[in-house]
Each structure stands twice: as C-alpha cells, then as structure tokens.
C-alpha cells in the first residue's frame, strides 16, 4: 500500500473546512519511512529497523501557522490533527475521509550486510589496513502533500549513510547508491585520511587553495545556500533586499535544483507540494533568487516557493537547499593547480557552520595536501577556514571544468536534520586565511 492510495478529494474537502479565511492555506503532509541500520561490529542488538508513518496538518493564516502532527496514517490521526489546527469547526462537516491500511513489510537490505566486507576488500587493495567501527544505514521515505490549493504526487527518496569511527577521527558520508564504484570511492577517502593522519597542520596564513568537489560543496552549502535562505536573510532585514547584491566572484553560477539530484533522491515537488524549480541562487556572483518556502513566499512579491523542506512530519517546513549545482568553468585541473602552486589542495570538509547574523562562517578540513609541481604533494593535517561569506566568495579565482556529484552531507540547521546533495567542480581560492 502506497501513499498514492490516499483519497485526495475527500482529504482536500475536509481541509477546506478549516481554511475559512480568504487567504488561508491548509494542507496535510503524509509520511512513511523505513530506516535499516547495520550497526558497528560487536554492537548488540544487531540488525536495526525503524518504520514510521504519520500525518501533519497545517493551517497558514497571515503571519501565523498552526501545525498538528500525529503518528499513524488513519482516519483518527488525520481527524484529530485537523481538529487541533482548526480555529473554528464548521457546523456541518463533510464526512471524514477513509484511509487505506498501511502495513509494514519485512525489512531486508542484503546490500548493507555485504558493505563492510566489500569496503574492507577495497581498502586492502590500497595495501593498507586499519581498524574502524563502521555503521551503515539505508534510508527510504515517501511523502505526499494534499492541500486546499495544491496536491503533489508521491515523492520517494532512497539513499545510504555511512559513519566510520577511526582511531584518528570520524568519517561520515551520504551515498546515493551502494554500488562498487561508491565502495571504491569511500575506501579511497578513508585511505587518504589514514595516510594524512600524522601530518602536521599547515602554517596559518593567507594562501591559495584548491577545494576538491566535496570541500567546494560544503563551502557552497554554508556560504551560498544557508546565507540565502529566507529565514537567515530575515534576521538582518527583508529577505528580498538580498536580490541583486554581489556576493561572490563573477565565475560563480550556483543553482539549487532538486530535479537533477542523484536518481534516488530526485524530487518533483518539495515538502509543501510545490513543484521544484531550478533556482538560480547566484548568477555571475550576484544574488538572483533566495531559497523560500511558502510561508516566506506568501509575504513577498519576488520570493518563490518550492524550497520548503521538512525533516519529518513533526517539524514545520523551512527554506532549505536540496541539490546545489555550481556551473563548471573553463579551468582544467592542471590550470587550477598551477595557479595555486605552493598552496593547498583540500579535498574534503568535515563540518561547517554559518553565523547567520554576522555572515561569518567556519569550514573544517580533516586533511589536505601541499600543492607541488602542479599536483597534490605532501599531506598536511587538520585546518580550518574562518571568514566572512563575501570575502571567501570574492576570493574565488577560477572554477574547474569538470563537475562531479559530491559533498553531500547532513545539514542540521535549527535542529532539522536533512540530507543535502551537490554537483560541483573544483574551485580555486586566492588569499584566504587558512588556520590550524
């Protein structure tokens, strides 16, 4: 039984009864999810399965929103949630909609069981060996939005997350697939981090650096996506005021496009039922369209909805990015490395944080390489970049010509944990202060 079996018409009719002001919007968000975890070796209980389902009913009126979320997708859970958000109940209500019975299926994920041994084999192929505690999860979710003005089809997501506790730190990644090439890529990253574990941190100071696709994705997530979320912009004034502001170098064309995300997480509609758009965040370094959900778009002539995301039914939606794309430039990898000779190559970033009020952000790099003879040379240890968003985005000097899907990670802004994805090339930054 899928969420496509919901009786759209009768649910919308019931919601229309509580949207009794002209500009009211009422909607119901239905969610079913399954997470399967293969815990680290020696950790009992073993194979772990979570099945969840529920509904959240929301009423938007002016500057206010009411949300009622209940576990289970049943007539009772829906009706109770509607009653919770209703400001006044109608005298003659429509008949309550009926709901199909959703039953959990037996959870199976053979690919997870094979993952630890395949990863160990891939690491051994690099002639190294080290201990780690590996946890792997498969995440599946289907959501559907039915409202008084909109109704989406069923949106499905399926992806994997991996965490490795290592003697020298922690590694985490989100993966669209768990195939051979992904296992090889995870193994490569772990081996790089193993080989760099004892390297000294780079001397602090201004330098040129090339960010690998994963590090560039983390930078764009913090410095472009978070900085251009309508709720972040509102802390400093009107979100619309950001439009037309030059934020970065002219080489930066950045989009958020959930419809071009990796196949398992591609979206046609956001978590508010709005069709997703290919949203140009920066064109030539200039802000074009900030990220907005319906609550922010309702108050503005220029903000467009379509970027509303919810971590789950219990949380109200917020404006967030899904899949960032940095348009490729013209520089080859050799060009980028040549420009940054003597500087740093930073392939990955492990975490970042944007201070929404000051515009300062921090990005931590677990390891890197000193660029020597136009290639990544000796390894360097941990470092971080702390700077103002505009300073870093203005420091971009060139964008690589080959974009790769990379750098996805969990975003935890405001306690809402969401997977985010990115497709970016390498970028060259000049004169940024790297600290250790």
């Amino acid at each position: 039984m899928s969420l496509s079996d919901l009786d759209y018409a009768s649910i919308a009719r019931t919601l229309s009864q509580i949207a009794d002001h002209r500009s009211d919007v009422a909607d119901a968000f239905f969610e079913r999810s399954e997470v399967i975890e293969l815990p680290a070796e020696g950790e009992a209980p073993g194979f772990r399965v979570w099945h969840e389902s529920g509904v959240a009913v929301r009423l938007l009126r002016g500057e206010k929103a009411w949300l009622a979320a209940r576990d289970g997708i049943t007539q009772e859970s829906f009706t109770q949630a509607v009653r919770r958000v209703a400001r006044a109940m109608p005298r003659a209500p429509y008949p309550e909609p009926s709901f199909p019975r959703f039953a959990d299926q037996k959870a199976e994920a053979g690919e997870l069981l094979d993952f630890p041994s395949e990863l160990a084999r891939a690491i051994r192929a690099h002639h190294v060996s080290f201990s780690m505690r590996l946890t792997a999860r498969r995440h599946r979710r289907q959501v559907r939005l039915i409202g008084t003005q909109l109704a989406s089809g069923v949106e499905r997501e399926s992806f994997y997350s991996v965490v490795a506790e290592l003697p020298w730190g922690r590694y985490g990644a989100l993966l669209a697939e768990l195939d051979r090439s992904t296992v090889d890529a995870v193994a490569r990253q772990l081996v790089h981090s193993f080989r760099a574990q004892k390297a000294s941190s780079p001397d602090p100071g201004a330098t040129a650096c090339v960010l690998g696709p994963a590090a560039a994705a983390a930078l764009l997530h913090e410095a472009v996506a978070h900085a251009l979320e309508a709720d972040t912009l509102a802390l400093g004034g009107h979100p619309e005021a950001a439009i037309g502001v030059t934020l970065g170098h002219g080489a930066l064309d950045v989009f958020d496009d959930p419809s071009t995300a990796p196949e398992g997480v591609r979206r046609g509609a956001d978590d508010e039922g709005y069709p997703v758009v290919r949203r140009c965040l920066l064109r030539g370094g200039v802000v074009e369209q900030p990220l907005a959900d319906s609550a922010w778009a309702r108050r503005s002539e220029v903000l467009r909805a379509g970027a509303g995301r919810r971590a789950d039914r219990h949380q109200p939606p917020g404006p967030r990015s899904t899949h960032l794309e940095l348009m490729p430039g013209e520089a080859s990898r050799e060009d980028l490395m040549a420009e940054a000779e003597g500087g740093l190559y930073l392939p990955e970033a492990e975490r970042g944080y944007l201070d929404p009020l000051s515009g300062n952000f921090v990005l931590h790099f677990p390891y890197g390489y000193r660029i020597k003879d136009r290639a990544p040379g000796p390894a360097v240890g941990r470092s971080y970049l702390k700077a103002h968003v505009t300073d870093v985005l203005q420091a971009v000097r060139a964008v690589g010509r080959e974009a790769t899907s990379a750098g996805a990670g969990w975003c935890a802004k405001g306690g809402m944990k969401l997977p985010v994805w990115a497709t970016t090339p390498e970028i060259l930054l000049e004169g940024v202060r790297i600290r250790s």
């Binding site: 194979f47 979570w50 949300l67 509102a234 219990h314």
Partner: protein, 439 residues
C-alpha cells in the same frame, strides 16, 4: 507494575519463536511547541506513539521500532546481530511521583505571553535589544517496559525547554543564545531571562579581552557546567577508572576538598527525576568524587564490576527510536549552602567573574588541557572594572579540579545530552585568560 497486555503478547510471541532475551518499550507523548522568529509564529502540537523491541539470545539479535502500539504480528527482521543480554528485574525503592507531572501543557497564549514579556523586559533593560528567535517546547510522556527477564515498569516525564536568541542594536552584536530546561514552562521568569540576555549583550558590545592574565576566577554555573560536561569521560563509563587514575595524585586525590561530584537519577525536584532508568533499573544517588577523592565512575548494569564499582540505573532513551545509552541524569557539583555568590564577589581581590561561555570547549594534549571561550567581567576589590569578551579560559584539567577554592549555594542545572548538568558558582585559582585570536 501492571503494563499493557500488548507488551506481554509481543514478548510471548518472540520467546515462543526461540528468543530468550526480549524487551518491549512503548512510549506515548504529546508536546506543544511555539516558535517565534521575527514576527512569524508557528504553533505545533505533536502526538507521538511508538514502540521498540530488542530481542535475541547469546548468538543473535535484532532491533525493531515502529510508530503506533505494540503489535505481535509484526514482520520481524532477521536476527543477524551479535548476541544480546538484557538486565534482570531489580527491587525499585518506593517513589512518589511529583505533583507537577500532571500539570497541563503550556497554552499558546501563555507561551506568547512569555515571549512578549522577555522581549519587553529586554528592550527596557537594553535599548535596541531584540529577540531574534524564541522557542518553547513543553511536553509530557508515559512509557512502559516489559521484558522476558521480569522487568515490568512504567515511567512518566514532563520537560519544558526554552531556547532564546537575542541581538543588540546597531552593528552585529550577538546573537546571544540561551537554552534552559524546567519541569514546567511556567517556571521560566521573563524578567530574569531578559536580564541575563541583556548582560550578555552588554558584554558583547563593550567588552574586550586581556592579552594574557592570571588571577582568581569566579566561574558562574554555565561556565562550570561546560567544563564538567566536557570532562564526562573522566567520570562516566567503564573506561573512566583508567582515565582518572592518570590524574590522581599520590594521596589519592583528583580534586580539591571543595569538589564533590554526584549523579542522581532520583534527585528530588530534578527535571528528569524518576524511579527507574530507560532499562527499568532503579535509579539512585551515586557519589563520583567526594571531597576531592574519586569514589567510582557512573556505570550501567552492563559496565558494573569489581573495577568500576556498583552500577546504577543511568541508561536513558532519548525517544522510543533510540537505544538505551549510559550517561548522567542530574550530574552536579554539590553546593555549599553557607556561601552566597555576593560574598565570593566581595572577597575577590583581583580577577574575573566569568558569566557564560561563547562557544564549545576544546580539549587538547590528549584531554589534559582545556580551552573554553568565555565572557564576563574583570573584578578589582570586589568591584567590576570592565567587560570581558573574546577570551579563552585555559588551563590543565588538574589545575581546574585542584584549584577549586570555594563553592557557592546557587546550584543551577542546564540541559545537556543526555541529561542535565548542574553547578554552583565556583572560586578557582590556577587558570589563565588569553585573548582569542580567531575572531
């Protein structure tokens, strides 16, 4: 303790399938949440119901969790995991549930009134001061636990958490963040909260940091709580004995005689007070460090032994989705009812009164040294002489523990994860303040 027959049915079904170790946990909760951001208000009401099973024997195991009520006809996953052992039932000392567990959840109007009160008082304490974000979550829950090892218990909780973000006028001052927990949202006082925010914003506006300075330090509860929290590995878990042995001196002392550290799951009036933990084991007071002498670490039934000492019920479950995790419930430094904070300030000849942290602590040199970003006031002969911001409080862990000279009576608990950590104001010697260069 009588639990829902559905829990018995699940345990019976799985023991019938050959699993010797079976435990079912069922939790229902409801919460009201109010979030104010700029002028935008979101009111949420959540009702959650879920259950979880841990099942296995000495060769295999699985974990299954699902929304709704326990269902014995669930299609269970394969038991592909390691062997599983569950705790046996223990005698639970008598306990009377606090009366305010039954208090109704905070209403929408009450919550908005609290926010408006804080906003108004903040603006009057500090012109231009404003609340950027305010969020109040007020919730209550009931849980039941039943296992094949005769654990049969139920528990209730009631917690309100308030989160505030405020900024000052003009140039970017702030945001200042505050996160507090109480049994009931009605315990939050707008005026006191507004004054705390205003103090912090004033410090951020006018403060500076000495390049490097020593002296006496008064550490307000948020500063000590951050340090105690960062030093958890010293007192919590089976590995704590080895770690604390490294910092024990020849007389068997790890801290000054003023330092007594306790964890108490039954703490009278504590936000999380309960007779049993998330595995149905009885909670109790455990003295971890007594007048500077290490007594034992905080360990669960699984970690207890001759080396680690007597276990206590200290495994919490963040929700029905989560595994029980050993950790503090109310970890606190014992207060001295004879000493007031004002007397400590008056007696401070030259030093600093550090009010709060400005970020997370860093542990360095294999956790022997710490650095904590702090703010507060410089003090001369008991009088404030300036505001301090952008400074690190640095020192060795042993210099902090042994440098505690005096403890005040103002024990204050702050939310941590998991549990709450509490401390009174401390007078400490042997630490250093350094200007932060990473601003």
């Amino acid at each position: 303790m009588k639990v829902d027959p559905k829990l018995h049915e699940v345990v019976d079904r799985l023991t019938g399938d050959g699993f010797r170790e079976v435990e079912v946990y069922h939790k229902r909760g409801r919460s009201r949440s109010l979030r104010l951001m700029m002028r935008h208000v979101v009111t949420s009401f959540r009702e959650e119901e879920g259950w979880a099973v841990r099942a296995g024997d000495d060769r295999r195991s699985f974990f299954h969790a699902s929304t709704g009520a326990p269902n014995p006809d669930t299609p269970w996953p394969e038991a592909d995991g390691e062997g599983l052992r569950l705790p046996s039932a223990k005698l639970v000392p008598e306990w009377t549930a606090p009366a305010d567990l039954d208090a109704p959840l905070v209403g929408e109007g009450e919550a908005l009134g609290l926010f408006e009160g804080i906003h108004r008082e903040l603006a009057s304490e500090l012109p231009g001061g404003r609340l950027l974000v305010a969020q109040l979550d007020d919730g209550s829950s009931e849980a039941q636990l039943y296992s094949s090892r005769e654990v049969s218990t139920s528990m209730r909780q009631r917690v309100a958490v308030l989160y505030l973000e405020a900024a000052g006028a003009g140039a970017a001052v702030g945001p200042i963040r505050l996160r507090l927990a109480a049994r009931e949202a009605r315990h939050f006082q707008p005026l006191a909260l507004a004054r705390r925010l205003a103090d912090r914003l004033l410090i951020a506006q006018k403060g500076s940091a000495p390049r490097r300075d020593r002296g006496e330090f008064l550490l307000a509860p948020p500063v000590t709580v951050a340090l105690l929290d960062a030093l958890r590995p010293l007192w919590i878990g089976a590995g704590a004995v080895a770690r604390i042995t490294e910092i024990t001196d020849r007389r068997g002392r790890v801290a000054s005689p003023a330092f007594t550290l306790v964890d108490d799951g039954r703490l009278n009036g504590g936000v999380l007070e309960a007779p049993v933990d998330g595995e149905g084991q009885p909670t109790r007071e455990v003295v971890l460090v007594e007048e500077g002498i290490f007594r034992q670490p905080l360990v669960t039934w699984r970690q207890g032994g001759t080396q680690t000492g007597r276990p206590s019920g200290c495994a919490s479950r963040a929700s029905w989705r989560d595994q029980p995790l050993g950790g503090p419930t109310h970890l606190y430094l014992r207060r001295n009812p004879e000493v007031g904070v004002a007397a400590l300030v008056d007696d401070l000849k030259r030093g600093y009164y550090l009010l709060d942290t400005e970020g997370a602590p860093r542990l360095e040199d294999d956790a022997r040294r710490f650095a904590l970003p702090v703010c507060g006031f410089s003090i001369d002969s008991g009088q404030p002489t300036g505001s301090v911001t952008g400074a690190w409080l640095v020192g060795t862990v042993t210099s902090f523990l042994n440098g505690v000279q005096s403890v005040a009576r103002d024990l204050t608990f702050l939310p941590s994860a998991p549990g709450l950590v509490g401390a009174p104001t401390l007078l400490v010697r042997g630490l250093e303040l350094r200007r932060r260069t990473d601003n």
